[in-house]
């Protein structure tokens, strides 16, 4: 039964996550909130790290990892295929009229609305992940224990990423540096 639900949920992500791999993240954080026995937000953060640090598109990696977490290899296969089947069907069926599709007035107007909203969705996912890492409680404002080491590391890394000549640095470098910092300063 879980496999069927898994198939349904990732099919849904495959239909509604528009804008590439990053766009799947808000859907995955909502999966963690709706199905805590599948994976927790904390585990999801580990999955994002592994997906960014391994070869392949992030969206595919995350689906495979999430599926594996839920139901091992069958889960990994079902989640990954369910994610890519909707766009596969859409593309194959409109392949002949793709150019017209892209230039269609309604489609491009829809995308004008989608782009900022998807940015907001990804920002919400980022907020969820950051809140989880920095603050041990449920909200930022309630009596939480702040994880100062994480806050400082976050601030340093985020600032480094905004520096012009570091902007092209591969995510793996930042992830590796953070892992070393985590071990050295025993986070």
């Amino acid at each position: 039964m879980d496999l069927l639900l898994l198939c349904f949920e990732f099919f849904k992500i495959g239909i509604f996550a528009i804008g590439g791999g990053l766009a799947t993240m808000p859907f995955l954080t909502q999966l963690a909130e709706n199905y805590p026995h599948w994976f927790t937000l904390e585990e999801l953060t580990d999955m994002i790290a592994v997906s960014e640090a391994t070869p392949g598109p992030i969206g595919v990696n995350m689906a495979t990892y999430a599926g594996f977490k839920i139901a091992h290899i069958p889960g990994a296969l079902i989640a990954t295929f369910s994610l890519i089947i909707p766009s596969f069907i859409i593309l194959v069926s409109i392949a002949r009229i793709l150019r017209k599709f892209r230039e269609n007035k309604y489609i491009s107007a829809g995308f004008e609305g989608l782009k900022p909203a998807v940015t907001g969705l990804i920002a919400a996912a980022a907020y969820t992940v950051i809140r989880l890492t920095m603050f041990a409680g449920d909200t930022v404002f309630a009596n939480d224990t702040v994880n100062y080491k994480s806050v400082i590391l976050f601030a340093v890394l985020f600032t480094a990423m905004q520096v012009k000549w570091l902007r092209k640095t591969h995510p793996i470098i930042f992830i590796a540096a953070a892992a070393i910092a985590g071990i050295v300063f025993s986070f």
Binding site: G14, F68, A109, V129, T133
Partner: protein, 201 residues
Amino acid sequence: MIKSLLSLFFAFFRIGLFTFGGGFSMLPMLEREVVDKHKWTDKEELLEYFALGQCVPGVIAVNTATLVGYKTRGILGSLFSALGLITPSIIVITSIAAVLVNFMHFPVVVHAFTGIKAAVGALMASAVVGLIRGNVLKKNKNKTSVKKILIANIPPVLLCAAAFVLVVFAGVSSVYITVGAAVTGIFLFRAKTRDEAEDNV
């Protein structure tokens, strides 16, 4: 036939195996395999497929693979291309996930991953900054008046803020927000794109 399908599969297998992160970081490798080595498309066509891959749901790299495969060998071609691209991910991720489970409770691994979580947060925040620059804020390209550009910025900024607030504070599903934003876009911007088209004439 079989040979060309297999060469599609393995070309995209290599692309999946040797690129990290997907998206634009995949372009150089795509170009090398698809344009230079196999001559399935020219560079311009590949870039157009890449752009089209962003206009439908799903993972952009998989969509691009599907389109290149379709152009080369029809539906079977797109099937082999997409499968080739995702196979390395499936192998690598399941292996890592299977191994990692046994080490997750080691103190060293716990410390490392606590540090890594801060990096993931920073990477996501940084991606959001880039997206806000690229997808939300309108730049003053045609040297129009400041007032005009401010007004043009209102709808996208509101849409972005509304999506964020609805998810974080009201727990609304991303599905509804996606559908709602597309519909809003059609109502808000349909007339505008017509205006712009008239301006260009």
